[in-house]
């Protein structure tokens, strides 16, 4: 059965991810342009990070002038879900994969790659996973460059409106999570949003630290009110 888990098969199954990533990455390219990054910096950002919300968050923090420690910890926490996805993926992989190959495969872990790969009941090969991750990666990196270039011909009034992209992405994610998982999602997000606003506006805390504190507090609260966690993975 393992013969079907080829590089080509991975690319084939990853193509819908490519299609989905490209426009989102374009939005990221626009955000980078807005921040004053050069095109190679935006592309390098996507190549080295390859993480949707993590990158948008880092870009936002850079824009707000956060210190490096704030950026590091915030990004680490927002991407911590990859640890759980990676744990599942590494269990599904066939044995005997070398150290540097594991590191490369780990770099390709994303929400969408994970959700496609774990659908298979049999162990998957490194070639299949490399194809799946590779095509998704191509969509993300090329989309970033395309978005940056499109930004060069966009009128300035429209560029201000494009700043909403980041928030639109997160609110869309929240709406989809709400539809799938119910009211508790909204409650947890509302608590963290209110706490974050209070910490920034009233206590004048740094954006990154406020983010970390409110995110942690809301997830502890969520864990206390949630019995069955499997549905939140």
């Amino acid at each position: 059965m393992q013969s079907e888990f080829t590089f080509k098969q991975g690319c084939k199954e990853g193509f819908p991810i490519f299609v989905g990533y490209f426009p989102t990455a374009m939005a990221f390219g626009l955000v980078c342009r807005d921040l004053g990054l050069r095109i190679w910096e935006a592309v390098l950002f996507s190549m080295t990070n390859f993480a949707g919300s993590g990158q948008f968050l880092a870009a936002n923090l850079i824009g707000k002038g956060a210190i490096p420690a704030e950026i590091f910890i915030s990004v680490l926490l927002v991407n911590l879900r990859y640890t759980f996805m990676g744990a599942e993926l590494s269990r599904k992989l066939t044995k005997g994969i070398g150290g540097w190959q594991r590191a490369l495969l780990a770099h390709g872990t994303t929400d969408e790659v994970f959700s496609v790969a774990v659908l298979h009941n049999q162990p998957i090969t490194k070639y299949y996973l490399a194809g799946l991750e590779g095509i998704a990666y191509a969509g993300w990196v090329c989309g970033t460059a395309a978005g940056f270039l499109v930004g060069m011909i966009l009128p300035s009034a429209l560029q201000l409106a494009v700043g909403v992209t980041l928030y639109a992405m997160f609110s869309s994610l929240l709406a989809q999570e709400f539809r799938q998982k119910g009211f508790k999602v909204l409650l947890i997000a509302a608590i963290s949003a209110i706490l974050n606003s209070v910490l920034i506006l009233l206590l004048h805390l740094g954006v990154g630290w406020a983010f970390v504190i409110s995110m942690l507090a809301a997830s502890f609260f969520g864990a206390a009110i949630t019995d069955d966690i499997e549905e939140y993975v």
């Binding site: 921040l35 680490l76 927002v78 429209l158 409106a161 928030y167 994610l173 999570e177 509302a190 963290s192």
Partner: protein, 103 residues
């Protein structure tokens, strides 16, 4: 050219943070043995992150026209609630915010 901000440091720091959480499960196995409360909290982090990723930024970024971003994300959220996908909600919110800024 010399006054270009040093973007490389935050970009690479963010990359290292992302890579650490990705590589960890490929090299360590203690994750299966975390206490259940901690495990639950960690899994909820991505949901808990969405609130502070939106507020108060979406209001503060458009200081005089504070409602512009709010209208934009409301449009995006409504559309995303009805249908899968991210492209149309994002484009819609850009359109709505653009109109709100013009008015």
């Amino acid at each position: 050219m010399t006054d270009h901000p040093p973007f490389m440091i935050p970009i690479l720091l963010s990359a290292v943070a992302t890579f650490l959480v990705r590589a960890l499960p490929y090299y360590a196995t203690f994750l299966d043995r975390l206490p259940s409360f901690l495990s639950k909290s960690l899994r909820l982090l991505s949901v808990a992150a969405l609130g502070p990723l939106i507020f108060p930024g979406v209001i503060l970024d458009y200081n005089q026209s504070w409602y512009a971003g709010l209208l934009g994300i409301a449009a995006a959220a409504l559309f995303a609630y009805k249908r899968q996908g991210m492209i149309i909600p994002i484009l819609l919110s850009i359109g709505v915010t653009y109109l709100a800024l013009l008015l």
